[in-house]
């Protein structure tokens, strides 16, 4: 029932690389890559540290990404007020409803991210 919402949460969380367990780019995932002998540049070192992946946004880019989302105004009845779901200071995005996730995935997320490169 909430597949789209969960995927959206995971994508956003992975992009922002936050500490919640929704972020799929974590130490365990990187260790799995090592186990499979795949993509050596993504492997963690022996201290359990690893390089950020190409899709992980830098802090500056995160700020632009979140600011773009924060400034979005949409027509009546399109989605909830997404700017309320964004914490620019802590660089977090939370409290989206399913419909917001749908709107984010289908329409907004693509150019919010592409903007920043």
């Amino acid at each position: 029932m909430h597949i789209e919402k969960n995927v959206c949460d995971n994508v956003v969380s992975t992009l922002l690389n936050d500490s919640s367990n929704k972020c799929k780019d974590n130490l365990k995932a990187r260790k799995d890559l090592q186990l499979w002998g795949n993509r050596p540049d993504l492997w963690p070192n022996e201290n359990g540290r690893y390089l950020p992946a190409i899709y992980t946004l830098t802090n500056a880019n995160k700020d632009i990404f979140l600011k773009t989302l924060k400034n979005i105004t949409v027509p009546d009845g399109y989605s909830s007020n997404i700017s309320r779901c964004i914490d620019v200071k802590q660089r977090k995005l939370g409290g989206l409803k399913s419909q917001d996730s749908h709107v984010l995935m289908e329409q907004i997320l693509t150019f919010c991210v592409l903007d920043k490169e």
Binding site: L51, I54, T68
Partner: protein
Amino acid sequence: MGPIDCAKRYSAYNVNGFKFRILEFDLWLKTQNSEVFGTFGTRSYTSSSEIQMQFGRVLYYGRLVDIIEINYHGRFSIVLFKCNWANTTTSRGIMNDEYGFTLVSFARLIHTDDNDDDEPYIKASEAQMVYYVDDELDKNLCIPVHVKPRDLYNMGGDDVDNFHECEPFEQQNLEILFSNEDGNIQLTRFFFLFSIVESFY
């Protein structure tokens, strides 16, 4: 016999399944309902010496400023939308970026009613709704996102292909971006080399 002298002005109007509101009212609100989009036939000449005229459909993006209803003595009435139109006839006003997204600039407007040729008004039935997402990097630019009306269903027929509630972006050219499929993509951010991310576990 022309229309009667008095015309009605509205601040909001429901048409084509959308609710349009004028820009003046939208400024105070968290939602935006004043963004108008339409394709209109425009006469264009390929060069000044050419006699043959071309008639093409041009995309127009605008912001709704005024709604006027002209009454023809109670027999019928016409609702007109007055808009600030972005200059979508030049490459400065509308452009496609490298990812295939359309960017519209509202820095320069056209059809501002200064010349006799200008037509800032459109018929309400021709208006479609979009909303604009501001570009954080270039404040003049914004990206229009097209909206499909709610509770308006396509009952099949000729154009079954267009049956999307929200049109996903079609013109993305990811193949061009990632043309080298076989592992040549750089997977880590190398300018980060000295700031290795802390593990959260």
